[in-house]
């Protein structure tokens, strides 16, 4: 394995190469981008081989667990997409995957979101504290008016129109909160990289200038 100072210097130079895009598109940025895409693809292939194919398929097959031939054959069929005459064979494997994931997603959504969230929003409209009562009313009104906004079977006029308008306000507040969190996330990434350049990189050379 390469020594830490060399590895960290490579990481620092690649970080600076990516940052250079903020000034304008250039060869250093493109080099770092292509390098990342290539390494990421290779890494995933190697990882799948060592973490899945060997322990979950190859070793059990050698140990006599022949029922695993079924997923093995289905997996091989996926490669038939590379030929036009046998491409249809891959549909069996894809169909199985789509069916499994759809089933799981529907059950997960029904159990984890639909039922649980409807239950969680059946709140008492009068609580022991004024703040609790106020919060529950805000949730109820926000929920109902946001739902009204997405009700398109009747023209948004009169009471329905006013409710839909209020619903838009609640949605706007939630979009604003999401945007705020997104800003926080992007700043965190910049902070992380700057801390690496300021602290970790020099530290790998034994230089601790920032405490």
């Amino acid at each position: 394995m390469l020594p830490a100072p060399l590895l960290n210097t490579m990481a620092a130079l690649l970080t600076l190469a990516i940052f250079s895009f903020l000034y304008k598109d250039n060869a250093f940025y493109k080099f770092a981008e292509y390098l990342f895409v290539g390494i990421a693809a290779g890494y995933v292939v190697a990882l799948e081989y060592h973490n899945v194919i060997i322990p979950n398929l190859w070793r059990p097959l050698l140990a006599g667990d022949f029922k695993l031939l079924v997923p093995f054959v289905l997996g091989v069929l996926l490669f038939s997409r590379f030929t036009s005459s046998f491409g249809w064979l891959s549909r069996w494997a894809i169909g199985l995957m789509v069916g499994t994931f759809s089933g799981l997603a529907i059950i997960g959504f029904a159990q984890g979101d639909l039922v649980a969230q409807v239950q969680a929003n059946m709140l008492p409209l009068k609580t022991e504290t004024l703040l609790g009562t106020f919060s529950n009313w805000v949730i109820l009104i926000g929920l109902l008016t946001s739902l009204v906004y997405f009700f398109f079977s009747k023209e948004h006029k009169g009471v329905l129109g006013a409710s839909a308008k209020l619903g838009i306000w609640f949605l706007m507040v939630s979009f604003g909160a999401s945007y705020g969190f997104t800003v926080m996330a992007r700043f965190s990434l910049l902070i992380g990289r700057l801390l690496f350049l300021l602290v970790d990189w020099p530290a790998s050379f034994g230089f601790h200038w920032l405490h």
């Binding site: 990421a40 799981l104 997603a105 969680a120 926080m184 996330a185 992380g192 700057l194 300021l198 920032l210």
Partner: protein
């Protein structure tokens, strides 16, 4: 204003983030209800019990999520909990390994295979989650190093999620907290505490409000709050000054942008 070179904005942002990192201001960190609940949930786990640590993130979200992993692991190891770590993101295992070694081995003197284990990455997203709920050994026959898990002392007596006290999920997106709640919490009723990126936090708040999540750490601020609770300030706390000042600048940009927008609208014929 419309012709302002966006590079000036980048420069201002860089300076605002850089200066507090070099010369910290020390702005206070206030612990929110969601983070306090996560802390209480971990604190409520019996000492020495086994915890499933789902590290579902990769280097792209490391600045936000790695401090969370370190802080929550610090809390778990301080209670002598046995940590069973696994990943659903291909880039996750080295990060999980770093967090487990740095906190478990170096800070608390814990032993790999006895007090903690890294089961590595497994593709399949929700299918893996459901499978872990039924059988951990069948889902992860070997650990990150290829050692069969029946040879690891920590895995003795562990069949499925019934044998762990709780799940701590560090989530960068899909697959992550949402899927753990949908597929595992609702099905196996295991307590889940989540640490997630700030981008995905608004999506998970309803799960916390409904009690489906025992606690929620959102973004760098969530990590800093947890570091404060465990009494070990780390990189998240260090970054909070820059984060707060950066937010103030963004607010200023939004206000200025609106002022110039309305001014130019008035000028227009």
């Amino acid at each position: 204003m419309e012709k302002l070179d966006r590079r000036y904005i980048f420069l201002v942002i860089l300076l605002v983030v850089l200066v507090p990192l070099i010369a910290p201001v020390g702005l206070p960190v206030r612990v929110s209800r969601e983070v306090q609940s996560a802390y209480d949930a971990v604190a409520g786990v019996p000492d020495g019990s086994k915890v499933y640590f789902a590290a579902d993130y990769d280097p792209s979200t490391m600045p936000e999520l790695h401090p969370m992993a370190l802080a929550t692991l610090d809390h778990l190891f301080s209670k002598n909990c046995k940590v069973i770590g696994a990943c659903l993101w291909p880039g996750g295992p080295p990060l999980l390994e770093d967090a487990l070694r740095r906190i478990g081995e170096l800070r608390f003197g814990k032993k790999y295979g006895v007090d903690f284990v890294n089961l590595g990455y497994k593709p399949g997203n929700e299918v893996v989650m459901v499978s872990v709920g039924r059988s951990i050994p069948a889902t992860f026959p070997a650990d990150f190093y290829g050692t069969p898990i029946e040879k690891l002392e920590i895995m003795k007596g562990v069949e499925n999620l019934d044998d762990v006290s709780m799940i701590v999920n560090i989530s960068a997106g899909y697959p992550g907290t949402k899927e753990w709640v949908q597929q595992v919490q609702s099905r196996y009723h295991v307590s889940i505490a989540s640490g997630c990126t700030a981008v995905s936090a608004p999506e998970y708040y309803p799960y916390f409000q409904s009690g489906q999540l025992a606690g929620l750490l959102g973004g760098l601020s969530g990590a800093a709050e947890y570091e404060k609770l465990v009494g070990k300030p780390g990189t998240a706390t260090r970054g909070m000054d820059a984060q707060s000042l950066g937010h103030l600048v963004i607010i200023a940009f939004i206000i200025l942008g609106n002022i110039f927008y309305f001014a130019s609208k008035k000028k227009a014929p």
